[in-house]
Symmetry: C2
DNA sequence: ATACGATCTACAGCGACTGTAGGTTCAAGA
DNA sequence: TCTTGAACCTACAGTCGCTGTAGATCGTAT
């Protein structure tokens, strides 16, 4: 059966070496076997778990959510409503982010090709960013608690 | 001329009180006038600056970028190429994020309405998340450095 | 005058990493 | 077999952008 060093794990999943160790320290992946010299050696299962982790992180799940998911997956079945709840929550968050990003993209486009770089003097980038009146209240919801914080 | 307490600033811009103080401590907004009792009193200009800040944050600019932008805006014109550079960088980042989010959204939708919550037993949420083979390498770029980190 | 919410400072803590220092191990080539 | 040099190890501090806490003070409406 195949064995992987932490570096190979990193290359195969795209998760940085330091981050893999961090995940281990957080209990998100089990402590792997070690060589006599103390280096980590992972098996196929560990590779899959790490890929799952990377995947879930990309989906925007917090490490806490992921831990919950893992616990759910390892618990003797039971009710999966909590898992749905987590997924739905993430979906809502993603939708929110996408909406904002779409609006923002337009403004950035306006900014980026406002005038050729090099032209000194009037600089639309700063102008547009400064002229928040154009969009204050358009995206975001002033007079309510900000939802800038992620997750 | 109107004056605003920090709480009013917060309500008007959607930036939390603590965050406003944080921005001040980071030098992103100037220290405002104070009442004899020591409470902050802001003017219209400060309100605009804060709105700008909120706006720029929503656009995905880092506080560092924003500081640069402010410096550029306050400097005696000069060359605005750096501002363009920042805007273009952000635009690229936004595009990247949107692409990823769009793909992820689909997976989340698949998960979220995989089966009605309540049905015990098989839980597609965990199943889908576990079956990362469906997407490993599809989004994200394994074998390259991960770009999970923001900004 | 009193009450009560808003504000003050200072500082610790969070999430999710990332980087550093200083040492050890492993695998491939000479 | 020996030697190199990349990869690995631990421990811990630092980053970013906030957020929360404690305990005191302020300001305004009644």
């Amino acid at each position: 059966m195949k064995e992987y060093s932490i570096g190979q794990m990193s290359r195969r999943t795209g998760v940085k070496v330091t981050t893999i160790r961090y995940y281990e320290s957080r209990g998100l992946i089990p402590a792997p076997a070690r060589t006599t010299g103390g280096q980590r050696r992972y098996d196929e299962a560990a590779l899959e778990r790490l890929a799952f982790l990377r995947h879930a992180r990309e989906l925007g799940f917090s490490l806490g959510d992921i831990a919950d998911l893992i616990a759910l997956a390892e618990a003797p079945s039971k009710d999966c409503a909590p898992a749905h709840e987590i997924a739905r929550k993430q979906l809502a968050a993603v939708d929110r982010r996408m909406t904002i990003l779409a609006q923002l993209r337009e403004e950035l486009v306006r900014m980026a090709d406002a005038d050729d770089p090099g032209h000194a003097g009037k600089c639309r980038v700063i102008e547009v960013l400064g002229d928040h009146r154009l969009c204050i209240g358009a995206h975001g919801r002033p007079d309510r608690s900000a939802d800038l914080s992620g997750s």
